[in-house]
Amino acid sequence: MADEFMKGFACLMVGGLGWMTIKGWYNTPSFEGAQLTGALTIEEPTTFDQIALFMGEAFFWFAVLGALTFWVVLPLVSEFQAYLNERSA
């Protein structure tokens, strides 16, 4: 169980750090004002910018889905399997 927690936490941290970095580059217009959620700071994204923006989204969903998977889905599945085993035993 502790391992599952650590895996979910690692997903959350890695994804969150990557998301924060890319949002800090592209969605933080100024030091004062909207942080990480502001409007896009560039007009015409180059290929590298598009890759970075895609990576930002990927990091975000990696954090959310990773934590959900290891903290909610997999424990539920194992609980359900234990329940089924208990019923059949």
């Binding site: 391992d3 750090l17 924060m20 970095t21 800090g24 580059w25 100024s30 030091f31």
Partner: protein, 254 residues
Amino acid sequence: MSDNDTDDVRTDGSGTGIVSPDDETPAWSERKERTQGLSRLTYEYFERARREDQDLRQQSDYVERDVLAFPAWPHEMMRNIALTSFFVGMILFVSATLPPEMPNPANSGVTPAIILPDWYLYWSFGLLKLGPLNPELSILGGSKLMADRTYGVLANVVVVGFVAIVPFLNKGSARRPVEQPFWAAVGMSGVIFSLTIAALSIKNLAPIAPHLLFDLTFLVPIVSATITYAVLKTMREGYMFDLNRRYYRLRPPK
């Protein structure tokens, strides 16, 4: 493994002193050996480290002591180096990828519109804004006993004094919130109050009506204490059941 890893129970006080209650209960070593993955690897690493230490001690003329720990080098130190590397790497990464903006230096000739302390002192700053709680006494002809600013400083004294006497209160044996729901609720309300009073200190900036914010500052801690108490009180039965079940699994009734 070796000759000192047999199953005999040693009664001279040299072993761990842990004896299985019957033949069906697995020993701790058996439980550990059944695990897998990272915990298995950790177990093997420490088991090997322990064995190497044991061999070294038996070879040397070092007087053996009863120390239930691993030596600082390399075991503790490797862990500390790993943790330190992680945090140093985090600092390097963040400062390299997100360098802070360097704005113009502050103009010492102009007073800023909003004066605030650092964020970790907001709670104390908020306690200075409790003027509406300063009672107007009718025996004084509707005037206040002390100025609002004196009242705010006194509020700081009261709160800091209460936090200072917390270590001397309630020296019970409870180690988990679920064992003492009332005190856990008191602590929870304190934590929430430190947040709401901090929010009150920046009421000029908070997107909420100041009067409502003032009321919520004192209502939210009470509500959270009630919720905490109810939840912990509800959890307690299941917690005691779990404790009892573990106890009887360890020592089944004959």
